[in-house]
């Protein structure tokens, strides 16, 4: 009964629903994309800079323990309300798992393989692109997968700082005790999370080099 009413709500307000869905997806993809662009190169760089790595990884580990809502709440006094602060906060949320996994993966590459690569005359850039990065991809993508799920779920909370997205229906639904409307936000958001998890799980498997897959 509740689900039929929720469905009816979507049919009655298609523009509102799809615009919220679009904002939700934009926020998620934007935050995840920005986080990848920042955390992967940073993680690679940190893998050869021990001192900087200690500080950055400690910060990332603290960042990882912060509740999603707290991160969003912290963004508001600094950046105000709307899409941009929500994007900023979600990016911040996505950074730690990607950074930590990239750094860990790069450091786990067999030193003999790297030594042979340098000894044969690969440049530093060639070693990273042709050897270290391909060998690190599975672990890096495990981090991106965790970040993706966090961002898609976290984006629900963007509504609290006026960022829009599916969270709008949930907050409104709670405020008005309108259960169908709450479901209009909650069910698609849940499906998006599950979808993101599965998508990145597949990508992770596909990007594992053939020579390293379990037989």
């Amino acid at each position: 009964m509740l689900f039929i009413e929720a469905w009816q709500f979507i049919l009655d307000h298609p523009r509102r629903f799809f615009s919220a869905l679009a904002t939700h997806v934009e926020l998620s993809i934007g935050a995840l994309g920005l986080a990848i662009l920042i955390a992967v190169p940073l993680g690679i760089w940190l893998s050869t800079h021990v001192r900087a790595a200690q500080a950055a990884i400690t910060a990332a580990n603290i960042g990882r323990t912060l509740p999603s809502l707290a991160v969003l709440a912290l963004a508001m006094p600094l950046l105000g309300t709307g899409f941009a602060p929500a994007l900023f906060a979600l990016t911040l949320l996505a950074l730690p798992p990607i950074l930590i996994n990239t750094w860990t993966a790069m450091r786990q590459v067999d030193p003999d393989v790297v030594d042979a690569a340098i000894g044969m005359g690969l440049t530093r850039g060639e070693v990273i692109r042709q050897v270290e990065l391909p060998l690190s991809l599975p672990v890096i993508f495990a981090g991106i997968r965790i970040a993706a799920v966090q961002v898609v779920s976290g984006a629900v909370l963007a509504a609290y700082i006026g960022g829009g997205g599916l969270g709008d229906f949930i907050t409104a639904g709670i405020a008005m005790m309108a259960m169908p409307q709450l479901l209009v936000g909650a069910v698609p958001a849940t499906l998006l999370s599950i979808g993101a998890d599965r998508l990145f799980g597949r990508l992770q498997a596909a990007l594992t080099p053939i020579g390293m897959r379990d037989a």
Binding site: D112, V113, M120, I210
Partner: protein, 314 residues
């Protein structure tokens, strides 16, 4: 071919230099073994030749060119590099691994493919069977075969080999030592070979450099090292059984004496060493063995008296 002049390397925080004013000349086409106890600087010395480590002082020349005056990456592409744990790229097929340096040098694919087949056949890895395999499917010995093929790919005149057989079981090791030496000698490579195993050094080296605390103690042929050790350290290092080791340097068919007795009850193959021959004589309780060639024809004899004369004279 390779000239080291007063080369010194000191690592930060170390009490003494890892390599201390070391000078060494390695003639073209020879195998030079660097050996010594751990921490003697043998690996550091080798790694300075292709600038994996950069010297603090002194000069290293390869084929008449100062390595520090060359681009490090270009230099490394022109020097073969083989390490103990091989370091094959696990995400690349065997063929791609062997093709590493030719690809860096921008060879066309047809030429690379021909070269890969040629090299895999050379190191005894059937190309049709192994080309598309991945490193983890190979045994330790097979991995090092591919490691050597990869190092030979662009036909470098100089090869650096850091304990290439150190991680391989003893039986395979012996086999690979014989096989690779034959290959590398045929190809007339100049080789710097690091090991801590004196038997391996005596077997593979044209010349052996014994290092201690970063300095050169003695640089000589295996024969000279065994007969005229420079000091007590070298004497101890080559071992109390150096007389036996000298016998291991000589093939039975290089020590032939004419056949006197009508018949010898025991025989030894011509390509066995005098050390093997001696062991056979002791086991059989005889004073002479017939030396036979690969067809079983008697070429001559080796005798206990002859062997004793060899270990005493010089």
């Amino acid at each position: 071919m390779i000239d080291l002049e007063a080369v010194t390397k000191r690592f930060a925080g170390a009490a003494r230099p890892a390599v201390d004013r070391l000078s060494l000349a390695i003639p073209a086409g020879e195998v030079c073994v660097l050996i010594g106890p751990s921490g003697c600087g043998k690996t550091t010395t080798m790694r300075m030749i292709n600038r994996m480590i950069e010297p603090d002082a002194g000069r290293i020349q390869v084929a008449g060119r100062d390595v520090m005056a060359q681009d490090a990456v270009e230099l490394r592409r022109s020097v073969g590099y083989v390490i103990q744990h091989v370091g094959l790229f696990p995400h690349w097929s065997i063929a791609d691994n062997v093709a590493t340096v030719p690809r860096l040098l921008g060879w066309d694919e047809a030429r690379i493919s021909r070269r890969v087949d040629e090299l895999m056949a050379l190191v005894g890895m059937e190309p049709a069977q192994y080309r598309e395999r991945f490193p983890r499917e190979l045994s330790g010995g097979q991995k090092q075969r591919i490691g050597v093929a990869r190092a030979l790919a662009a036909d470098p005149p100089v090869m650096l080999m850091d304990e290439p057989f150190g991680a391989i079981d003893p039986i395979t090791r012996k086999h690979l030592q014989n096989e690779f030496l034959k290959i590398l000698r045929q190809l007339k490579k100049t080789i710097v070979f690091v090991t801590h195993d004196i038997d391996e050094a005596l077997k593979v080296g044209d010349r052996i450099a014994i290092l201690r605390d970063g300095a050169l103690v003695q640089y000589d042929t295996p024969e000279a090292l065994l007969t005229r050790p420079a000091n007590a350290f070298v004497e101890a290092f080559v071992g109390a059984d150096r007389a036996l080791k000298r016998l291991a340097l000589v093939r039975a068919d290089a020590a032939l004496e004419p056949v006197i007795a009508a018949k010898h009850g025991h025989h030894v193959a011509g390509d066995a060493t005098l050390r093997d021959a001696l062991a056979l004589m002791l086991a059989a309780g005889v004073d002479a063995l017939a030396v036979v060639d690969s067809d079983g024809a008697v070429q001559g004899v080796v005798t206990m008296t002859g062997i004793r004369a060899r270990t005493v004279k010089h």
